[in-house]
């Protein structure tokens, strides 16, 4: 998460917003998959996006799980996909939690401290 911190300090508000966006999107995507379990291609697409997001914000575990999920998709492994998806959900939940906690902390720290941090 070091990578994340680099600009998080300066832009954490924006990132918070982003987090809020990602969560509902993710849920949607999972739902979609459940509805159309056979649509691997679409799922692959979604997962790719998610993976991109995950990696961009430094969520490595999430990204790894995405890769696994993608592999399952490629193999049309429905069961594998489902399992992976479950894992991803968990990862995502954890990530969300952690980020929220972090943001809260940043808020508490206050503007002055933040300024100090950004100078790093």
């Amino acid at each position: 998460m070091l990578f994340l911190q680099g600009y998080l300090d300066e832009q954490f508000n924006q990132l918070e917003e982003l987090q809020d966006e990602t969560s509902p999107n993710f849920v949607e995507e999972v739902v979609v998959f459940d509805k159309y379990p056979q649509d691997f291609y679409r799922l692959d697409s979604l997962v790719h996006t998610l993976k991109g997001r995950g990696t961009s914000i430094g969520a490595m575990r999430m990204k790894n799980e995405c890769s696994v999920l993608k592999a399952h998709c490629n193999n049309k492994n429905l069961e594998g996909c489902r399992r992976s998806l479950q894992k991803m959900k968990r990862e995502h939940a954890t990530l969300k939690q952690k980020l929220e906690a972090y943001c809260q902390m940043m808020r508490q720290v206050g503007p002055r401290e933040r300024a100090v941090n950004s100078r790093k």
């Binding site: 990578f3 680099g6 600009y7 300066e10 966006e21 991109g52 990696t55 961009s56 914000i57």
Partner: protein, 585 residues
């Protein structure tokens, strides 16, 4: 005049060519920042999260960033900007819903020739290589590290280094700067070839001697065939005669500095190839070959760059759409007919330009391609031979005020650009509009303009080939009906006014796709004929799609006057009315 980073860059007097003097550290840092601040980066990513992050990172690196989520929006922005104001760099995601990143990459390369960096979570070697093959100057894998972004300016400089105008040596400094400031005006009046394509041409009239010297010593510089240059080329070729055209002669006739025989030779080869492909007029409606697509597109741009003369915009030269299925026309010359004076390309130019790119996306099946002034997205697909004919004869003096309200499922809302451009452009209302264009013969100029735009739009419709093909099929079907055919022929007769002689040509291109029910017939062949004639302003051959009997007549058109036999065409049977559009999407 807005000063781009180049002005600043060249303002530095380094000991070496173009290098800022870093003797003074502080000054260097500040210069770096101001330099970067002038670098306009366009970031494209459909994922808002990633886009935001990218934007943030770029800002952090002190770039001047603009972020968009849609590739189409990006293209619009790029097209809208003038030379001096244009973006310096584009960073785009590969995986996007509305347009493939690679397509965007190609388009930007073709139209604006600014460096593009691809971005993706996909780190497969295949994809990365694909990116480079499509012309990306770099491929970054997400997550993109800040450090990677810090150095993207190198790509911008590298790209411009090949531009002789930007050769920053003491002597040339003033010259290049002057040229840059002069660029805007020059491009407007299209006076100076050299200056006009100095931005694009790697080899400029600047240092012809240098060129010949350098040819052997350094890598041969790629010359960018601007619209004007291409027009000269085509003129030269036709002057000499396409069969007798040899590079040396062409070069002589062209009389342009800065290009060598080799350049002309390779360009000629491409031109010939493109002509051949044109005449093959296949029904390939899908991507014929992935590798070929790009060159194919470029081929078409070669052919279609006819007379894309003074186009001021930075939109490059691709005004005409290319089609994959054009049947042999009696005169291949038509393809190369230098269309005169595009005139103020302006919106119309943009329109056509965008149109070109829409069709250039022929093989992708994606629907994209806004026409900048109309913002009209068009479906992509192969173009019809018919349209091809029209297109080739477009008199590109586009009229800014495109009056058509082509309703129906096609050109709909040229001005709003909100509706997808469907090949079935030709709706009934279109017919009405078209006819209204020739109120007895209005100033042919005006009509020409409108027709041009019409055809431009028509051309832009992605599935023009389909249309053309289907028209032919319909035509074939129609052949069975005796009455309409007769009527049509009769009505076609008056169409052959004065200068026109009709030479029926079997245009099988028309008869391929069965599904198009388009309004083209609505326009009523006569109109189409008129269109092509008008387009043909220069007095070249006009291919009129004679839908009724599935042949294409070639009208030898001596003048550029509009032949206003709209009444005759009006009466054309309405049988064809429901023709097209059906299969058109």
């Amino acid at each position: 005049m807005k000063k781009g980073w180049k002005e600043i860059w060249s303002g530095h007097d380094g000991g070496e060519v173009g290098l800022p003097s870093f003797g003074d550290c502080e000054r260097a840092v500040m210069d770096m920042e101001s330099f970067l601040a002038r670098l306009r980066v366009l970031a494209v990513d459909d994922d808002r999260v990633c886009l935001k992050i990218l934007e943030t990172q770029l800002r952090h690196c002190k770039y001047n960033v603009t972020a968009v989520t849609r590739a189409e929006a990006a293209l619009e922005m790029l097209r809208a900007r003038k030379d001096g104001d244009q973006f310096d760099l584009v960073i785009s995601d590969v995986h996007m819903p509305d347009m493939d990143g690679f397509k965007l990459l190609e388009l930007v390369g073709l139209e604006m020739d600014i460096p593009v960096i691809m971005l993706s979570a996909n780190e497969e070697m295949e994809t990365m290589m694909k990116g480079i093959k499509h012309g990306a100057c770099d491929y970054l894998v997400k997550p993109v590290h800040l450090d990677r972004l810090k150095n993207i300016w190198l790509h911008v400089v590298k790209k411009s280094m090949n531009d002789p105008r930007d050769h920053i040596s003491g002597a040339n400094d003033d010259a290049s700067q002057k040229r840059q400031s002069g660029d805007a005006e020059d491009e407007k009046n299209g006076a100076d070839d050299t200056k006009k394509h100095s931005r694009k041409n790697k080899k400029d009239g600047d240092d012809p001697e240098e060129d010949s010297e350098n040819t052997s010593t350094q890598k041969r510089q790629r010359i960018q065939w601007s619209a004007d240059l291409h027009r000269k080329f085509v003129e030269a070729v036709h002057q000499i005669g396409i069969d007798r055209a040899v590079p040396k002669k062409i070069l002589d006739v062209m009389g342009v500095d800065g290009i060598t025989r080799e350049h002309v030779a390779s360009h000629l080869q491409k031109y010939r190839l493109a002509l051949k492909k044109l005449s093959l007029g296949t029904d390939k409606q899908s991507n014929p070959c992935p590798a070929g697509t790009e060159s194919w597109r470029r081929d078409w741009n070669y052919i279609n760059m006819n007379g894309l003369a003074s186009s001021p915009s930075a939109l490059g030269t691709h005004r005409l759409l290319h089609s994959q299925s054009v049947k042999p026309i009696s005169s291949q010359r038509s393809l190369g007919i230098p269309v005169r004076d595009m005139g103020p390309a302006g919106n119309g130019g943009n329109l056509l330009n965008a149109v070109v790119h829409d069709v250039s996306n022929v093989t992708s099946g994606n629907s994209y391609g806004h026409i900048s002034n109309g913002g009209l997205p068009s479906g992509s697909g192969p173009s019809g031979s018919y349209i091809e004919n029209i297109r080739n004869r477009m008199v590109l003096d586009a009229d800014r005020s495109f009056p058509f309200a082509i309703s129906g499922n096609s050109f709909a809302n040229m001005s709003n650009g909100t509706q997808p451009l469907v090949p079935g452009l030709v709706s009934n209302s279109l017919k009405g509009d078209v006819l209204s264009m020739f109120p007895g013969y209005g100033p042919s100029q005006g009509n020409n303009l409108k027709i041009n735009q019409l055809s431009g739009i028509a051309a832009s419709s992605g599935q023009m080939t389909a249309i053309g093909d289907e028209i032919q099929n319909r035509m074939a079907a129609l052949k069975g009906k005796s009455t309409p055919v007769v009527d049509f022929s009769e009505q076609m007769a008056p169409f052959n006014l004065g200068n026109y002689t009709s030479v029926p040509i079997n245009n099988s291109a028309l008869a391929s796709a069965p599904t198009i029910r388009s309004a083209l017939p609505d326009i009523q062949i006569g109109n189409l004929g008129m269109l092509t004639q008008m387009l043909n302003g220069g007095g070249a051959n006009v291919n009129v799609l004679d839908e009724k009997d599935g042949t294409s007549k070639v009208y030898q058109h001596a003048t550029g006057d509009l032949v206003g036999t709209s009444e005759a065409q009006n009466q054309m049977g309405g049988d064809l009315d429901d023709f097209f559009i059906d299969g058109l999407i």
